[in-house]
Every structure is written in structure tokens, then in C-alpha cells.
């Protein structure tokens, strides 16, 4: 599985690795009831790429993403983000690292109900005490089509709009990597397409490195590379692929 370097590069973007994982294992529980969610995964995420992680449920794809994002710790193995080894960091250091390097988009949006759309977007900056760049914010609001809804609260927005707020929130701090966990899992196909367009657009326009966990083959079509997990191992890897190819591979690895 060392096909990483063979991948085609989007033009004009330096192919430097920003996330590197080495021999990751993750075991839940102990003794006879122990369950191995990851059984030795190594991978490198190059800058400016959108990588999709796919696999049947229970394949370990969510666990992998959580460990890469520093939300969970591996049982063994290492993760480096921007050349910083994160598996040994303490909670506080990890939190600071997340502020600087990581953006999240969740399946269930996870917006604060008492804040307006704009306040939700700028939340990570105000938590870390960083300055809000007005221009950047306006650009994000325009890109996500939320400019005229900035004063609305989440309850006054549709599901698609809420997820667009979430995407903008993930982009606002210009993170080194954006992690999206089933970003379309809670949306209909029409709005799913919108969100996927946004994520792909961020890669194209800003060179936003992105890792997306999904079980939706259609979502994976926007990825530069698709990793397939089964039983805690990376079993297959595709470059930019069509929905048919992905479905086929899924059927293959699911067997």
C-alpha cells in the first residue's frame, strides 16, 4: 500500500505531506472481549488534497479520522500534523493544536443554538482569541451563500444552510487540515451536492487539505484519492474515481 506518491497532483500545489500516520492500531477493551478497530494503518495526507476514507460500518474509518484529528489516541503508532507528533501531546497542547491546525465538519452540524450564523462561524476564532479578518469572513459568507442570513439563528435555517455554516466555521481559521465526518449523512441529495460542491471548492480555491469520512459513494467522487478500510486495515486505494468505480471497489472490499 505505498501508492501515495503515485497520485496525481493538482497543478501548482506543492505536494508536501501535512498529516502522516505510522502503524496505527486502536484496540477497545482488553482481554478476550478486546476489539481491534485499527490493526496497523499508515498513510500520508498531502497538502491541498481531498482524501476520502470509505468502508463498511465497523471498518474503523471513524476511529482513524478521530485519531488523525487528535480527538482519540491510538493504542500504538504515531500521528504527525505539520511535523508535530500529536499522540504524546497533553490535552491542553492538543487543544491549542486543534485551534491552529484543524477544522471540523460534523454529521449533525453541531451549531450553538443561541448564536447567530455569523457568530457560529467565528466561534473558533473567538475561542482562541484570534482576530477576525473581516474580508475573509465576508468571502466565506459569500462563498457559502449565507451573506443575507448572517443574523439568523440555527433554528431559523434549513439543514443545508446549517451545514454550510458548519463548513464556513471549519474554514474560518484556515486550518492545516479540515476533517469532515459524514458531512452529508444528515442531508437530502440536493443539499448534499451543495455541501460537496463547497468542500471541493475549498480545495480548488484555497488549496484546503481535507479528509472526509463517508459511506456515500457519491460524496467520494469529489475526492482526489479514496482510501478503503476493512477490518481495521487500508485494503485499497483509488485516485479520482467515478461513482461506479467506487461502488465496485466497495462491493469488492466488503466481501
Amino acid at each position: 500500500m505505498n501508492a501515495v506518491l503515485e497520485l496525481q497532483q493538482p497543478a501548482g500545489i506543492e505536494a508536501r505531506t501535512v498529516v502522516a500516520a505510522q502503524d496505527l492500531t486502536r484496540t477497545y477493551g482488553a482481554g478476550e472481549t478486546a476489539v481491534a478497530a485499527l490493526r496497523g494503518v499508515s498513510l500520508e495526507i498531502p497538502r491541498g488534497h481531498l482524501t476520502a476514507v470509505m468502508g463498511p460500518s465497523g471498518s474503523g474509518k471513524s476511529t482513524l479520522m478521530h485519531i488523525l484529528a487528535g480527538l482519540d489516541k491510538p493504542t500504538s503508532g504515531t500521528v504527525e500534523i505539520d511535523d508535530v507528533e500529536i499522540t504524546t501531546l497533553r490535552d491542553n497542547e492538543l487543544t491549542k493544536l486543534r485551534r491552529r491546525h484543524i477544522g471540523f465538519v460534523f454529521q449533525f452540524f453541531n451549531l450553538l443554538p443561541m448564536l447567530s450564523a455569523e457568530e457560529n462561524i467565528t466561534l473558533p476564532l473567538s475561542i482562541s482569541g484570534a482576530k477576525i479578518e473581516r474580508e475573509w469572513l465576508e468571502e466565506l459568507l459569500d462563498a457559502t451563500g449565507l451573506a443575507d442570513r448572517r443574523r439568523h439563528r440555527p433554528a431559523e435555517l434549513s439543514g443545508g444552510q446549517q451545514q454550510r455554516v458548519a463548513v464556513a466555521r471549519a474554514l474560518v481559521s484556515r486550518p492545516t487540515v479540515l476533517f469532515a465526518d459524514e458531512p452529508t449523512g444528515n442531508l437530502d441529495s440536493q443539499t448534499s451536492a451543495e455541501i460537496l460542491g463547497l468542500l471541493r471548492g475549498a480545495v480548488e480555491t484555497y488549496g484546503q487539505t481535507t479528509v472526509m469520512v463517508t459511506h456515500d459513494p457519491k460524496a467520494a467522487t469529489i475526492a482526489d484519492r479514496v482510501l478503503f478500510l476493512a477490518d481495521g486495515l487500508i485494503v485499497k486505494e483509488l485516485g479520482r474515481s467515478s461513482q461506479a468505480e467506487i461502488l465496485e471497489t466497495l462491493a469488492e472490499v466488503g466481501r
Binding site: 480527538l71 487543544t95 486543534r98 485551534r99 471540523f104 453541531n110 466561534l123 473567538s126 475561542i127 482569541g129
Partner: protein, 853 residues
């Protein structure tokens, strides 16, 4: 459904425990009060009944006047001889053992020559060495006192001071201090402690001399073998003088205990009132917690409904949850009552109210009262949440999305406004209204305050937004994003924040009221005393309210450097056809210069008439036939000695305030006072002196006499007010603590509810410290809202009440320092309440929190 309720309680252990605590504290206060007062009562009972254990009949002076300073009429030695001569009588002895009043006071001095004294009684008593029958004391060491130079003291005092039999002990009775040989050490009956009282026991003749008594307090009589108590009493009853009566020993014990019984009853209701307040606050907390729980269980309850549970079953399951909580909490509270009883004892000792104690009394009544109040309060508080639970429709089980935050309803607002308006009307009518009966006043004030609390709690949801914006401002500035988020969290569910804050508001309202009212009373009392006092110094007893031997004032008058010394005798008397009044005996020649009289009728010349048997009276003295006493009116009164005094009013002096007075309503000459009252004794000596060296020297023989400057005297005489205020603060702290539990509860529930949000915040870069800060700020915002509601309300109530007392010279002023202190207390309370929830929130596992549903 029953199982659902019980399982529910068990699965929410922390919450149930915190909720229960809100009730536990109130119930503990109720049961603790009952235990304490029963114990005190039993101790007094046993003191008084051991006094007459072997006594079939008691011949004693009638108690003609309550709380007399100089005692009651005594029994003459002549009467003792007549009783002893009766054929029905086996034995009779004169005793000086009355412990029910202030008349038998003798101070024991410690090794430094200071009188041993808390604020406790210092008894000087007399019992003859050979008298085994009537003696309530038991000898622990040495022998009984015999002859004019021996004394016996109680075990407690001997232990505390390290006195040993055979050494010299100084005692001051109604005369200069004297030295006695310590003959023995005794204990009193079965009583563990006389509550810090000291006892100096002499033989009867010496006791009479030390206490300046002419006869005996009582003659104790034992009947011959086959003589019934009735026959004995009939036999003695023949030819008793008017001022003396005969009773059985137990009747006498009951009468001695009467005054104390009334006092203990007063303490009981006083403390129960605070238990009631704590329970009222507890009801708020229960109501709030159950409401939140019901809201959070919407899905669960709806699922039950889809499975076929009826509304009635849902109602029952929530009420049952309340009932179980109430019963368990009451039982625990009942147990805690014992601790509270100990705490209250310490508290009362701290404000100088030490009371005797026997072994702890735990009456069935205590258990019943505590269980009932706790359970009923909890049930009542759970009714509305239960009704709300029945309104959850089955469809909510499948409806997507979390809880819907309801806008505060208009109906609640209207009810709140109407209730508040009615309460304010009742309050204004109760305090300021003219021609209002006492009942209407009390109902208006008590009902008004209660109604106002509920009314404001109902309006409060509307006030939460602006208040949170105001009180959250500093936090939002200082606390960064965490502070701002906290502020917004506080207004997310205004109803919830409102009732959490309202619980705290109650306690803060009451303490603010006490601060305002107390400050007004204190200021007016001080200024009134200042107006009355015309000298540089004042001599009182150490305690301030005991009498001082007459010799002390006389010694002061003769001391070097003293320009003027005017003693004021004092006692109470029964006005003919009227109530009891304070009577003062003054020196007509000097009082005019020592006390600032302002004459309403008559003039300074009226003082001269005192010498010839006249009187001056304080303005407002009611005459038996109605109307106020004026110059020329005749008044009569009965003294505790049983003497009738008739006199004519020669002057009416203006009263300053209604609290502390230097002179009684009726002022006589000292000569007239000494003739008619049991014993001359001074309450005060007003002294004008340039230097105090000579005075101090002159008073060395009177260790209980305390010389103070006028200002120090005023401060110490008004200290009771500050003491009472402190007592109120401490007791009200209980209800503040109860509301604190409510706050912890609300926060824990909020953290639980916002688990996923907290996970997200942590994921996007919020540190644990920031999470803790956010929860802490929310708590402080809530408690400051409580303060923002409570303080103005308390100040307004205080202003209303002081206004209603303005005719008595009480005027309103803002007690800035205490109010600032209360705000600080509120902030600290909020921080304390946040500790546990903040820790929980910060320790959430980010991953699990994110996946939490």
C-alpha cells in the same frame, strides 16, 4: 409505571441527591429546632422539679410582676415558725433557691478578680447544711457551707476555674465583693449543664445577707406520713398574708418554669420560621429540578404514552417520584436535625444565649412534623411539573430535534403581575395603612412578602434577558468568549434561569431587608440614647441588664474627680387597671443634670416634687380609664414586693424613640422606690467625671460594675440589635445554601443537556479551563440575577417598613457596605455552585460527547 419512577430516580442518582438536599436542609432545621427546644425545656423542667423534689408544699411570695429585677415578695421568718408549728408538718425550712428570676444573683470572681460571666445567670443561693430533705444539690466534694465565711460552688465553675476545696473564693452579691472559704463542690440534680450558669451556695442566713434579702424565697414543707397534700395545703393556707401563697411542689415547679416555657416557645417558633423559609426555597428548587427533568425526559415520557400509558399514569409516575424523594429526604433531614440542634446551640451561645441542656429529647412529634412538612412540600412542588408531563403528546416520541425552548407564556406573566400587584397592595396596607387591625397587618405583610416572591418569580423570565445582559457584562469583558457564551447560555431558557435565581432571591431579599431595617433601628436607637444621656460616663453591670449593688453608685459619687453621679434604680410593677410598666427610682437632686429631660407637661420643678412622693411619667403612659397620663393625674401600682403605691403625676417628659430607655415610664424618688420594691438595686449610674482614675479605684470592690464612656455605653446597650441581626444573617444563610443546591442542580442538568455542544466546543479549540470558566460564569450570572432581584426587593421592603415606623423616629438609609457584601456573597455562591458542574463539563470525553444523543 411505578417501576419507571423508581428506576428513574435511581438512574439519576446525583441529581436525585442534589434535589433531596434542598429538602433535607429545611427538614433538618425543623427537626433540629424541635429537638433543641424540647431538650432545653426538659432541662429547665428538671431544674425546677429537682428544686422541689422532696417538697410536698411550698409557701412562697406571689409572682406579682413578670421579669422583675429585684425579685418577688419574700416569706418572713415569723411565717416559717408558724408553719413549723402546724401538727400536719413533719419538717419545714426557709430556702433561697428561686432560680426563675434575676433576684438571686451573686458573681463568683475568677483568679484575676474578674466576675465570671458569659451572658449567663450567676446564681447566689442559700440552703442549710443539715437540710437533706429540701436540698436539690448533691455534694461532689468537701462539705456544705456553714456560717458567714463559707461558700460552695458548682462543679462546672470549679472545673473551669480550677478552684479547690479549702481555698479562698471571691463573691460579689448585693454589696461589695467578699472573700469566702470554699467548703465544697456540688452538682445540681440530674442536669448535665446549667448552660454556663454559675452557682454560689451559702447557708440560708449568709445567703440572705449576701443577697440583701429580708426573708426567704420560699418555705419548703414536708407533710407527716399520713397527711395528704390537700390537707397540708389547707392547713397552711389558713391565715397566710396577701403577698404569699401555698402550692404543691410540682405546682410551684410548673410556675417557676412558666416564664422560661414562654421564652422557649418563642425561640421554637422563631427558629421554625427559618426552617419554613428554607423549605419554601427548597420547594422552588424541587419545582425547578423536576420541571427540567420532565423536559429532558420528553422523549421517554412520550414513548411511554405511545406504549399505552395514560395521562393519569404519567402524572402518577412524576408525583410518585416527588413523593419518594420527599419521604427519603425528610427521613435524612430528620437525622441531620440532631446536628442542626448542636449547631443551633453553638449559634445561640455565640450571641450570648446559653441555655441549659439535658440529654437530647427526640419526641415522636418531632419525627411526625419533620416527615410531614418535608413530604408535603415536595409533593406540592411536584404537582405542576407532573401536570406539564401529562401534556406531552405521544408524537413527541418520534419528533426530531432536542428540546424546544418555550417562550415565557403571556398567561404566566399576567398572573405574576396580578399577584405582585396584590401583594404590594397588601404590604402597603399592612405597613402604612391607618385603622388596620393587627390581623390584617400581619396577613398583609406575611402574605404580601410570600406572594411577592412567587409573583416576581413568575415575572422573572421576562427580566432575565436584560438582567443577564447587565450582570453578565463584566464576565463577558473579562471572561472572553467563555464569558460571552455563559451569558448567552444563561438566557437560553429564561424560565429555568428565572426560577433558579428566584430561589436565591428569597434569601437575599430577606438579608437585605434585615440590613436596612436593622441599620435604621440601630441609628435611631443610638441617636435616641444620645439625646437622653447627659453625662460623660455610665456605670452598668457587666452584662448591661443585671442590677448593680447600690453601694457601687454611692462609691462612685464619693470618688475623686467625679463631678456628678446619679444612680437610677429600676424594676417592673403592675399598674393598677393597666399593664406592667418600668419604674425608675432617681435622686431628685442630681437626675436633672444627668438626664436630659424635655418636658411636655410640667417643668424641671417637677423633679423636686419627687422628694415629697410625687412622680413624673414618660409621655404616652396609658391611664386605666383611657387617655394618657397628665399633670395632676393619680396613678397606682403594685410592686413585686406586693406593696401598693399611690402617687400623683407632676410632670410628663418626652420620650425619645421606642427601643432603649434610660428611665422607666414611671419615675419616683429613690427613697420611695426603696420603700416599695423588694430590694434597692441600680440599673445605671450616670456619672460626669473629668478623670476616671478615682472612679476606677472606687469601683474595685464591685467587680460587676462596669464603667464606660457615654459612647461606649450606647454602643454596648445597642449591641443586642447587631447580635439579633447576626443571628438573622446566619439563619437566613440556610436558605441561601438551599438555593445553592438548586443552582448546582440546574447547572448539572444543563451540562448534561449540552453534552454534544460541549464536545463540539472542545473539538474546535476550547480548553478545559475555558469550559470551566464558561460554566462558572453562567453560575455567577445566575446568582447575580438573584441578587439583582433580591437586593432591590429587600431594600424596598425595608424602606416600606421603616417608613411605617417613621413616627417613632426610625428613618431609612441605605446600608451600602452590607449590600455590597451580599453581592460578593452571591458571586462566591455562584462560583461554589459551579465547581462540580464545571468539573463534569471539563472532563467530558470529547469523542463520546460528540456522539452523545
Amino acid at each position: 409505571m411505578r417501576r419507571v419512577a423508581i428506576r428513574g430516580l435511581l438512574s439519576r442518582k446525583l441529581r436525585s441527591a442534589l434535589t433531596a438536599f434542598a429538602i433535607i436542609l429545611g427538614v433538618a432545621m425543623v427537626s433540629g429546632t424541635l429537638v433543641l427546644t424540647d431538650t432545653i425545656e426538659k432541662a429547665f423542667d428538671s431544674i425546677f422539679s429537682s428544686s422541689y423534689a422532696q417538697t410536698d408544699a411550698v409557701v412562697s411570695g406571689k409572682k406579682l410582676v413578670e421579669w422583675s429585677q429585684t425579685g418577688k415578695a419574700t416569706v418572713s421568718p415569723d411565717l416559717l415558725r408558724r408553719v413549723q408549728a402546724l401538727p400536719e408538718v413533719e419538717a419545714a425550712a426557709g430556702t433561697i433557691l428561686d432560680m426563675s428570676g434575676d433576684s438571686n444573683q451573686a458573681k463568683i470572681l475568677d483568679r484575676d478578680g474578674e466576675a465570671i460571666q458569659g451572658n449567663n445567670p450567676t446564681f447566689g443561693l442559700g440552703v442549710d447544711p443539715g437540710d437533706e430533705t429540701f436540698n436539690p444539690f448533691r455534694l461532689v466534694e468537701g462539705d456544705w457551707a456553714s456560717g458567714p465565711n463559707e461558700v460552695v460552688i458548682d462543679l462546672g465553675t470549679a472545673d473551669a476555674e480550677g478552684f479547690r476545696v479549702g481555698e479562698q473564693v471571691q463573691v460579689a452579691g448585693e454589696g461589695p465583693v467578699r472573700s469566702f472559704t470554699l467548703a465544697g463542690i456540688v452538682r445540681f440534680g440530674d442536669v448535665d449543664s446549667l448552660g454556663g450558669a454559675t452557682i454560689a451556695l451559702f447557708d440560708v442566713a449568709t445567703a440572705r445577707q449576701v443577697l440583701d434579702k429580708t426573708g426567704f424565697d420560699a418555705v419548703a414543707v414536708a407533710a407527716r406520713d399520713n397527711v395528704s397534700a390537700e390537707r397540708l395545703i389547707d392547713a397552711i393556707g389558713v391565715a397566710l398574708p396577701d403577698s404569699v401563697e401555698v402550692k404543691t411542689g410540682s405546682e410551684q415547679a410548673a410556675e417557676d418554669g412558666e416564664g422560661v416555657g414562654e421564652f422557649v416557645t418563642f425561640i421554637r417558633y422563631f427558629l421554625l420560621a427559618f426552617g419554613g423559609i428554607a423549605l419554601f426555597v427548597g420547594a422552588f428548587v424541587i419545582f425547578n429540578t423536576l420541571s427540567i427533568t420532565v423536559a429532558q425526559r420528553t422523549k421517554e415520557l412520550a414513548t411511554l404514552r405511545t406504549l399505552g400509558a395514560s395521562r393519569r399514569q404519567v402524572l402518577r409516575s412524576v408525583v410518585l417520584e416527588g413523593a419518594i424523594l420527599g419521604v427519603v429526604a425528610s427521613a435524612v433531614g430528620l437525622g441531620f436535625g440532631v446536628l442542626i440542634a448542636k449547631g443551633l446551640t453553638a449559634l445561640m451561645r455565640a450571641v450570648g444565649l446559653e441555655l441549659p441542656q439535658a440529654s437530647m429529647v427526640f419526641a415522636t412529634r418531632t419525627a411526625v412534623a419533620a416527615m410531614l412538612t418535608g413530604t408535603i412540600v415536595t409533593l406540592v412542588a411536584s404537582v405542576w411539573p407532573a401536570v406539564r408531563a401529562t401534556r406531552i403528546s405521544p408524537i413527541s416520541a418520534v419528533r426530531e430535534g432536542g428540546m424546544v425552548v418555550k417562550k415565557p407564556s403571556r398567561k404566566t406573566l399576567v398572573i405574576g403581575l396580578v399577584l405582585s400587584a396584590l401583594s404590594v397592595a397588601g404590604l402597603v396596607n399592612g405597613t402604612l395603612g391607618n385603622d388596620v387591625s393587627a390581623l390584617v397587618r400581619v396577613l398583609g405583610i406575611a402574605g404580601g412578602v410570600l406572594g411577592l416572591f412567587i409573583g416576581i418569580a413568575l415575572i422573572a423570565p421576562r427580566l432575565i434577558r436584560p438582567l443577564a445582559r447587565l450582570v453578565g457584562l463584566p464576565g463577558a469583558r473579562l471572561g472572553g468568549t467563555a464569558g460571552r457564551l455563559a451569558q448567552q447560555n444563561a438566557i437560553r431558557d429564561p424560565g429555568r434561569t428565572a426560577s433558579t435565581a428566584a430561589a436565591l432571591m428569597i434569601g437575599l431579599t430577606l438579608v437585605s431587608f434585615v440590613a436596612v431595617f436593622g441599620k435604621a433601628l440601630l441609628a435611631s436607637d443610638e441617636s435616641n440614647l444620645r439625646k437622653q444621656l447627659g453625662t460623660s460616663h455610665v456605670i452598668t453591670s457587666q452584662s448591661g441588664w443585671d442590677t448593680v449593688p447600690v453601694g457601687a453608685g454611692e462609691a462612685a459619687a464619693g470618688a475623686a474627680g467625679v463631678e456628678l453621679a446619679s444612680s437610677i434604680r429600676g424594676d417592673r410593677a403592675q399598674l393598677t387597671g393597666g399593664g406592667e410598666v418600668d419604674v425608675s427610682g432617681v435622686d431628685p437632686a442630681t437626675i436633672g443634670r444627668a438626664y436630659n429631660f424635655e418636658w411636655i407637661e410640667g417643668s424641671e420643678a417637677a423633679l423636686a416634687s419627687l422628694a415629697s412622693g410625687g412622680a413624673v411619667v414618660r409621655e404616652g403612659l396609658e391611664l386605666p380609664g383611657g387617655g394618657k397620663a397628665g399633670v395632676g393625674d393619680r396613678i397606682g401600682f403594685l410592686t413585686p414586693a406586693g406593696k401598693r403605691v399611690e402617687t400623683v403625676v407632676h410632670g410628663v417628659y418626652e420620650k425619645h424613640g421606642d427601643l432603649d430607655q434610660l428611665l422607666g415610664q414611671v419615675v419616683l424618688s429613690q427613697a420611695a422606690f426603696d420603700r416599695s420594691f423588694p430590694r434597692p438595686a441600680d440599673l445605671l449610674t450616670l456619672v460626669q467625671a473629668d478623670s476616671t482614675a478615682g472612679l476606677e479605684h472606687a469601683l474595685v470592690a464591685y467587680p460587676d460594675a462596669k464603667l464606660q464612656t457615654g459612647e461606649a455605653f450606647i454602643a454596648s446597650w445597642t449591641k443586642w440589635l447587631t447580635d439579633v441581626m447576626s443571628l438573622f444573617y446566619v439563619l437566613l444563610a440556610l436558605s441561601v445554601i438551599v438555593s445553592l443546591f438548586g443552582m448546582v442542580n440546574t447547572l448539572v442538568l444543563a451540562v448534561f443537556e449540552r453534552t454534544r455542544e460541549l464536545g463540539m466546543l472542545r473539538a474546535v479549540g476550547m480548553t478545559r479551563r475555558q469550559v470551566r470558566r464558561m460554566i462558572r460564569h453562567e453560575a455567577v450570572v445566575t446568582s447575580l440575577i438573584g441578587a439583582a432581584l433580591g437586593l432591590p426587593l429587600g431594600v424596598a421592603l425595608g424602606a416600606l417598613v421603616t417608613q411605617s415606623l417613621s413616627q417613632y423616629g426610625v428613618s431609612f438609609s441605605l446600608p451600602v457596605v452590607p449590600l455590597v457584601a451580599f453581592v460578593v456573597v452571591a458571586i462566591v455562591a455562584g462560583i461554589a455552585a459551579a465547581v462540580l458542574p464545571a468539573r463534569r463539563a471539563s472532563r467530558l470525553n470529547v469523542l463520546e460527547a460528540l456522539q452523545y444523543e
